[in-house]
Symmetry: C2
Subunit: 115 residues, 2 copies
Amino acid sequence: MQQVKMEVEQASLVLKLLGDKTRLTIMALLNIRELCVCELLEVFDMSQPSISQHLRKLKDAGLVKEERKGQWVYYSINKTSDAYPLLESVLHYIPEQTEKMEQIIKSNPTLRCGC
Amino acid sequence: MQQVKMEVEQASLVLKLLGDKTRLTIMALLNIRELCVCELLEVFDMSQPSISQHLRKLKDAGLVKEERKGQWVYYSINKTSDAYPLLESVLHYIPEQTEKMEQIIKSNPTLRCGC
DNA sequence: TTAGGATATAACTATTTGCTTATATGTTCA
DNA sequence: TGAACATATAAGCAAATAGTTATATCCTAA
C-alpha cells in the first residue's frame, strides 16, 4: 500500500520539524490552502519573526515553497518534495484546523481597507 | 481511508520523539521484533545509559512497553497506544532495518556462553 | 551470600532550539 | 521620493535536549 522510503536520517529531520506544535499547525493550515505570513500571524500568539523563522525552517527542508504576490509572501505545501508522502500521511492523523482557518477568514488581514 | 485523529499537541509530542535518528531507528527495529537493551546496544555507537534514556522517553510517551525476562528487559511496540496508528504510518516510510537486525542476530548478546 | 552482568538513574555538560527585540529589506502608493 | 506596511535577518537569551561518566538497583548463579 505504501511506498517510496526515505532514509532514516532524512525522515528524522522531517519528523523533527513536524514535532513542533507551531510548525505542525502551520502545515495543517497550509494543507487547507496557501497562506501569507500575515494570515498565519492571526492565529499564533507569537511574534512575526518567530513565524518567519518557522517558515524558513520548513522551506529549507523543502516542505513548503514561497511565492511573493505584491507586498505579501504566500507559503504553500511543496507537493514535489521527497518528504511529501510522509507529510501527507502524518497530516491525516491531526484534525483539520477549521477553527483557526475561520479566524483567518474573519480577520482577513490582507484586506484592511474594505474597497 | 484514515481515522482516529490525535490532538495537534499530542501528535507533535510523538513526532518530536520520532524526530531523532536514534529513536526512529529503535522504533524501526522494534517493528521487526521485540529487543532487549543489550541487543540495541550492539547497533548504536553510544553508551548504555544513552539508549536507556531514549527507551525511557519512548516508554513515557506510551510508544513502547517493557517486559523483564530474567536479567534482560525486553522492549516492544505498544500497539494499544493512541499514537500507534500514526507511528505505524510513519514507519511505512522508512526502510526496514534488516542490516542492523542481522548485526544483532550475528552478535547475539543474550547468548554469551554457547550452551 | 556474594560476585558479576544487565539495566536504570543521577549529575553534569555542550549543543540546539524557540523565542524575544532591534533592525534591515522589499513593496506600494500618495 | 518617502511614509507605511509586509517580511526577513541578526543578535541575544533561557530552556530543552542528547550525550557523557559515575553510581545505584535488580537478577542470576556459583
